[in-house]
């Protein structure tokens, strides 16, 4: 689940496009990444299982964050013979509107080239949430493969005022099985969530042929009868 810009609109930033050359990607702590994501990303949350956090720096200012983490539990099964160690999921991407145009593709390109060169990871997954109007344009612009809508994992309501992710519920109560929880006297309900656009990027091209799901055309914005977006 990623965000392109704070307000989701591609606007020219405060810095001229020549500043694109001066953009730097640096490793940052999870704590710093979380501060910026909670403050600026539309989700206002950083998921558990974050493995790497990078910051986007321009003229000394930290103006963007990109995090990679474990992502969906069975994400690795999209590729035949893969293990959880072969994949990371791009879990958050936020860049300030002050950054110049095309900053997203620049920093994503730097990150992917680095992962390819300096790790043994084989592929990266990313998800875009159509429920908030995201199609994954940045992934399309950087040549990821589109594999359709993912199966949406439900959230769980156990009556404590919070919707729980299945992983956090299993962590807290040992299981997210509705049947088991009901037997224990907990009134648990699964709240369906919208499916997300799923993209995959092969760091090791030789693994491309192992992709176990079809590659589909990129989703596009729907137009109204007059051809407007």
């Amino acid at each position: 689940m990623t965000s392109i810009r704070t307000n989701q609109i591609m606007v020219a930033g405060s810095y001229p496009s020549t500043a694109l050359h001066d953009l730097r990607l640096i490793p940052i702590s999870r704590v710093d990444a979380k501060k910026l994501i909670v403050r600026n990303h539309y989700s206002h949350s950083l998921p558990g299982g974050t493995k790497m956090s990078f910051g986007t720096v321009l003229n000394g200012r930290l103006l963007g964050v990109m995090t990679f983490g474990v992502g969906p539990f069975y994400g690795y099964k999209l590729v035949d013979g893969a293990t959880p160690d072969d994949v990371v999921t791009l879990t958050r991407l936020w860049l300030s509107d002050e950054l110049p145009r095309n900053s997203e593709s620049k920093v994503l390109g730097v990150a992917l080239r680095s992962l390819k060169r300096d790790t043994s990871l084989k592929f990266v997954l990313a998800y875009s949430d159509p429920a908030v109007g995201h199609l994954g344009i940045i992934y399309q612009a950087t040549n990821w493969l589109y594999t359709g809508l993912s199966t949406a994992t439900p959230l769980y309501d156990i009556g404590d005022g919070t919707l729980h992710h299945s992983r956090s519920l299993a962590h807290q109560l040992g299981s997210h099985s509705i049947r088991y929880l009901t037997l224990q006297g907990i009134n648990a309900k699964a709240i369906p969530q919208s499916a997300k656009h799923r993209y995959i990027y092969f760091l090791d091209e030789s693994w491309h042929s192992r992709l176990g799901v079809p590659v589909l055309p990129y989703p596009k914005k729907e137009r109204d009868i007059d051809g407007n977006n």
Binding site: V31, F54, G60, R61, L63, S114
Partner: protein
């Protein structure tokens, strides 16, 4: 608006002040005032008897502790509602540090001042301060190469959910084989993990022998 020096005994803490400061933060404020003096005026308003402090209630406590007699104050003439609103505004209207610029600023400070002196004033731990100062000092390549090395040797988690009865049985089996597992610590420094491995290996070996 006027700035005047007022006798400390005329200043009273606002009973409605909601801002709380714990002892570690008070200690930092104490060090700061001792080192740099009172560099920020208190904001007060005149009440029936003396002056009520709208901003600077914690500083007032420390000034009393330090036997300061005269305190520079900004005096405002506002009603109860505006006094509360101004206090909230003074506490909450502020910017956020850019983390990249802050890291460079901290590095500049640490080039001159010892870490201990910085930690006495800033609300940071040694770890958070050094983490801040090191931001951007490591290349992505170095970071990823270190990450790759670390994950190659990390011990893996295997999490099972089970009933209390099942857990007791497994714990009993682990306890029985634990002495042997401890003798084989070369496999892994985690003796209980090794114990579980030995139990499973014994089962698999037996099955394999049976199949053959």
């Amino acid at each position: 608006m006027e700035i005047i020096e007022l006798p400390i005994e005329t200043l009273k803490e606002a009973v409605w002040n909601v801002n709380q400061v714990d002892e570690s933060m008070m200690q930092r404020l104490r060090v700061s005032i001792t080192k740099y003096g009172l560099v920020q005026n208190l904001v007060v308003r005149q009440v029936a008897v003396g002056y009520e402090v709208l901003s600077g209630n914690h500083r007032l406590k420390l000034l009393k502790e330090l036997y300061i007699t005269m305190v520079p104050c900004v005096v405002v003439d506002i009603d109860d509602a505006h006094a509360r609103l101004l206090a909230q505004a003074l506490n909450h209207i502020h910017g956020d540090d850019d983390l990249g610029l802050r890291a460079e600023l901290i590095r500049e400070v640490l080039r001159v001042l010892p870490e201990k002196e910085v930690l006495a004033i800033l609300p940071e731990t040694p770890g958070s301060l050094s983490g801040m100062a090191s931001m951007g000092q490591e290349t992505i390549a170095t970071f990823l190469q270190n990450w790759e090395k670390a994950r190659a040797v990390r011990l893996r988690n295997l999490i099972f959910k089970m009933t209390q009865e099942q857990l007791l049985t497994i714990e009993k089996a682990i306890d029985q084989i634990l002495p042997e597992a401890k003798r084989q610590q070369g496999i892994s420094p985690n003796a209980r993990g090794t114990a579980l491995y030995l139990i499973c290996k014994s089962f698999v070996d037996k099955e394999d022998k049976h199949d053959n």
